[in-house]
């Protein structure tokens, strides 16, 4: 029982990583109704920028907002430059562009900062939360930041005019346009916000997994799994889903001998397929109803 509890808590701690990533997946899904397969690479690139600024000697709490701002502008710019000209193209073209972005960000990160593993410091310290705790201060800090981001997002969508406009643009673009919402601008804003949240996720994840250009592919998959489990339409669901994925992954690694410590990606595959089959809307998502 002790082992079980231990594993649940440390799964909760890794779940914080996935929750953060799932949140940015949901954000982009709200804006464009697609899954951005380059999301992880964009977050990785933001993290490299953070690493570079830290290496130049800027204090951590100055770097954090600067990187978020750069990422917001970057995501906004990617939408405006790359996606605006082909907004009416078929879905498959978009998927190919995601793949192209994936290759571009990955290659540039490797080119500029090379492929050696880099350590990113944690702002919350490295030790356990209290002596003998199964969860470190960094993990606890990560969970706290994820929660703050979630609350801020909720407040943004619930209480601001801009948030309302973004919801309108996502729910019904035609009607939103008629009442004066700039729908395509809202899409770009969604990209910016998703990219900013991805940057937060990347910076928080880097002290745990170490920074290198390929660090995000598996984390993105877990992020997708978390987002699907919680419901692609619900930010709170995504966070819950992320934590659950962390816990499930950890328990499966402990109790199912075949899976062992390292080979946990098939669990994400299994989770995604299972959720999509049994409850496609996820735990907290809205069911989409199609009019024929």
């Amino acid at each position: 029982m002790d082992l079980f509890l231990q594993q649940v808590i440390s799964g909760f701690a890794t779940g914080g990583i996935y929750a953060c990533m799932a949140l940015s997946v949901v954000m982009i899904y709200q804006a464009i109704h697609h899954l951005n397969f380059a999301q992880g690479e964009m977050a990785m690139f933001s993290t490299y920028i953070a690493w570079q600024l830290l290496a130049w000697g800027l204090p951590y709490w100055a770097v954090f907002p600067i990187v978020i701002a750069i990422s917001f502008v970057g995501g906004f710019a990617v939408e405006r430059i790359v996606f605006k000209p082909i907004e009416n193209a078929p879905v498959l073209s978009h998927i190919v562009i995601f793949i192209a972005l994936f290759a571009i960000f990955n290659s540039f990160a490797g080119f500029i900062w090379d492929f050696t593993i880099k350590a990113v410091p944690s702002p919350f310290g490295e030790g356990p939360l209290y002596p003998g705790a199964p969860i470190g201060t960094h993990q606890a800090g990560m969970v706290a930041v994820t929660m703050v981001v979630l609350v801020m997002l909720w407040a943004f969508f619930r209480f601001t005019r801009m948030g309302l406009a973004m919801r309108a643009a996502a729910a019904n673009p035609d009607s939103a346009r008629l009442v004066g919402v700039k729908v395509s601008m809202m899409t770009a804003l969604g990209w910016g916000m998703a990219s900013a949240i991805g940057a937060v996720a990347g910076i928080l994840i880097a002290p745990v997994v170490f920074l290198e250009p390929n660090m995000m592919l598996s984390i993105l998959l877990y992020g997708f799994a978390g987002a699907v489990l919680g419901g692609l339409t619900s930010p709170a669901g995504a966070v819950l889903g992320g934590f659950l994925v962390g816990i499930i992954e950890n328990l499966a690694g402990t109790y199912i001998p075949v899976i062992g410590g390292e080979l946990k990606l098939p669990i994400a595959l299994f989770l995604i397929v299972a959720v999509l089959l049994i409850k496609p809307a996820g735990l907290m998502g809205r069911r989409t109803v199609q009019r024929v």
Binding site: L35, F37, A100, L276
Partner: protein, 343 residues
């Protein structure tokens, strides 16, 4: 969210391009092109170096895999970012049968085909409930998890774990080995199988089944109300598509003489999808052009800059989507239409 009426793959819909053009000269044009291509393909291995023959064999292998993906995505309108998994199943089937059971390599191909058909059909069953972006997601997960699935310890006895399996290159049979070397033999072997599969795919698309598949792509609800059993057709399409890709994987393993989990990463699935889009979604001959792209363009990108090869590859892709949104197929069809008008 894309509604069901929307054509999500960008494949030419039936309304816009009738499947059988009435113009006779156009058909002649296609036949002539095919004849020239086949003659060129037969001459090629006698006038080029072994490494180039090997590369062209790989092009044909990928072309078969892309042909399979095209049947699924272009003709039936289902996405797959995970066809590398079926390619891997085909490759491992060949390797295990040849090296551990001593099965002659020719027999591994139908076995791999059948096995992949079953695997594809089974994956296609849950995929029935997934549309558009969800199917992309599920197959993305399949692609990312494939190397780790192959490394799982219970299968290690057969798959050789991380080390993989080495295959011995077959010689040309019937005493032909004094005339042509193994590279040339594998080239012709692949060419014949490729042409056979292309003929199959072509007939499938022009059949009653093919029309049902396209009807499901263009409007699933209308297809269902016309009495098309969408569930059976979609799962079968997945199976057939996986069969083609599995045969390609089987050939690929024999040609490269080696299989290991890390040859079947997400990058392979991505390459197949990229080849599909470059060649032209829904246009079967495009598979060959797409395969040429994914074999040679990464080298070109590497020549431009070693460190930034990935970035240049990405820029190429974006340029293609902007300049030729329907792939090479779209450009060639537009060109052919113009020639037809002149004739």
């Amino acid at each position: 969210m894309a509604t069901s009426e929307e054509n999500m793959t960008g494949a030419p819909t039936m309304a816009r391009s009738p499947s059988k053009p009435a113009a006779k000269p156009g058909d002649a044009l296609g036949t002539i092109t095919l004849a020239v291509l086949v003659i060129g393909a037969v001459i090629l291995p006698f006038v080029s170096k072994n490494f180039f023959i090997f590369q062209m064999t790989q092009v044909m292998v990928y072309a078969i895999a892309i042909l399979g993906l095209n049947l699924l995505t272009g003709i039936n309108g289902q996405f797959s970012l995970g066809h590398g998994a079926f390619y891997a199943v085909g490759a491992y089937t060949a390797a295990i049968l040849m090296e551990m059971q001593g099965v002659p390599y020719g027999w591994t191909i139908p076995i791999a085909g059948i096995l992949c058909f079953v695997a594809g059909f089974l994956f296609g069953l849950p995929a029935l409930r997934l549309e558009g972006v969800y199917l992309a997601l599920a197959t993305f997960a399949l692609a990312v998890a494939t190397p780790q699935l192959l490394k799982l310890s219970p299968f290690e006895h057969w798959t050789g774990g991380v080390q993989g399996i080495v295959i011995i290159k077959p010689d040309a049979p019937f005493g032909l080995d004094s005339v042509i070397n193994p590279d040339q033999w594998l080239y012709f072997f692949t060419l014949v199988i490729g042409l056979f599969l292309y003929w199959l795919a072509r007939n499938l698309v022009n059949s009653r089944t093919g029309r049902a598949l396209m009807a499901i792509r263009d409007n699933p609800i209308a297809a269902r109300s016309m009495g098309v059993n969408t569930a059976v057709y979609k799962a079968t399409a997945f199976g057939i598509s996986a069969m083609f890709t599995g045969v390609a994987g089987c050939l690929g393993a024999i040609v490269i003489q080696f299989v290991a989990p890390d040859s079947f990463t997400f990058a392979l699935s991505v390459a197949l999808l990229v080849g599909l889009v470059i060649g032209g979604v829904g246009w079967l001959p495009g598979a060959l052009l797409g395969a040429l792209f994914i074999v040679f363009i990464p080298n070109v990108a590497e020549d431009i800059s070693k460190g930034l090869a990935g970035a240049f590859y990405g820029f190429f892709l974006i340029a293609v989507i902007y300049l030729a949104p329907k792939g090479a197929g779209g450009l060639i069809q537009a060109g052919a239409a113009r020639v037809r008008k002149m004739l």
